[in-house]
Symmetry: C2
Subunit: 184 residues, 2 copies
DNA sequence: TGGCTCATGTAATCTGTTACATGATTCT
DNA sequence: AGAATCATGTAACAGATTACATGAGCCA
């Protein structure tokens, strides 16, 4: 994608909270940002090295025994860059739902198959929702801490949209059942 | 993105409904699939030529006067490929919301700015919702036509999630207002 | 001892966007 | 006459994933 790169800011944003290794950053992305962002090692590590060259993060070797480990922390310059980007309006919010694509063209294979796609989608959402709900609950108790307010708002977004997805699954199933009955 | 290419199937799916030119396909993507998919000319035209080489679509020159115009129609082979792909489970449903990213890291710049991001997001959604609502209403009257059932299900998804986005905007604003008062 | 997790990184490859190039028609 | 839209396409480039390469520590 020849789109403006956002990995820089994802990493700076996470490091703004606390210093971390690339491996920990990856895990953070896969857990906390999971429902609205993603990223692979193949883009995390090179970006970290780039940010270091630009003076936006600082490396620190924290290897334990023989195990290589590099902790990164944000610099003043990095914080400045992050602040500037945050102040800019979001360029693009993007949904790329393959499930919807398959459903949209579903006529080719019929209602039964559409139902399968909906059920699979529902299962995925149902698997993720408890984790999201838990973080909303946990965060709601510690909102005095300023950063938690922002985490809470995003987690709330996740819970609400995921709950709507499930409602839609129900509704879609009911509609399909009705249509199937009519076809005798 | 080194992700499995889906443009092939997007085009095949659209052409399965009726023959179209590349230009019309682009417009169709930008209107009907708008809220869950996107694509540029730079990927549409090359993909069409590739699909033709693979025998999945057929070209037909339908130039009017001096204006070049190439209509594409799906072939049996193309339909077969589409069917097969449709039967496969969706690999990846992806949300990439820059707004949420900026909100998540929002502590760096404060509540006032978070509010701006939420308001801008709300405006975008409010601008799109009427079109989505209209297509749900229109489709609901012509559900006898089989293809419309599938369009209806996806449009319904769009309306429901977009409405939830707006609810979240309201809620987020209320929460922020409360927090701002406390900070007096 | 074998497998999983921790840990860092590179290279090949893919997909997609942006910007450019070109030209006709239609609307005002 | 000029602007917007219709219409097709290419080339440069960007951003990301996947698979590979390497190796240590920990647990059963």
């Amino acid at each position: 994608m020849a789109n403006t790169k956002k990995m820089d800011y994802v990493l700076l944003g996470l490091l703004d909270h606390e210093p971390m290794t690339g491996y920990e950053l990856k895990r953070r992305i896969d857990t906390t940002l999971r429902f609205f962002w993603s990223g692979s090692f193949g883009s995390i590590y090179p970006t970290l090295n780039l940010l270091e060259k630009e003076g936006k993060v600082q490396k620190k070797d924290v290897s334990t025994n023989g195990r290589e480990k590099i902790a990164y922390s944000i610099t003043e310059e990095g914080r400045k860059a992050l602040k500037e980007w945050l102040a800019l309006p979001a360029e693009k919010d993007e949904l790329r739902y393959e499930t919807l694509l398959k459903l949209f063209f579903g006529n080719e294979n019929g209602l039964e198959e559409a139902l399968c796609h909906i059920n699979r989608f529902e299962e995925k959402i149902k698997a993720e929702l408890p984790i999201l709900r838990l973080s909303v609950t946990q965060l709601s108790h510690i909102l005095e801490e300023d950063t938690h307010k922002y985490y809470y708002l995003t987690a709330l977004f996740g819970v609400k949209t995921f709950e709507t997805y499930l409602e839609w699954c129900e509704e879609a199933r009911t509609l399909i059942a009705g249509w199937q009955q009519k076809d005798h």
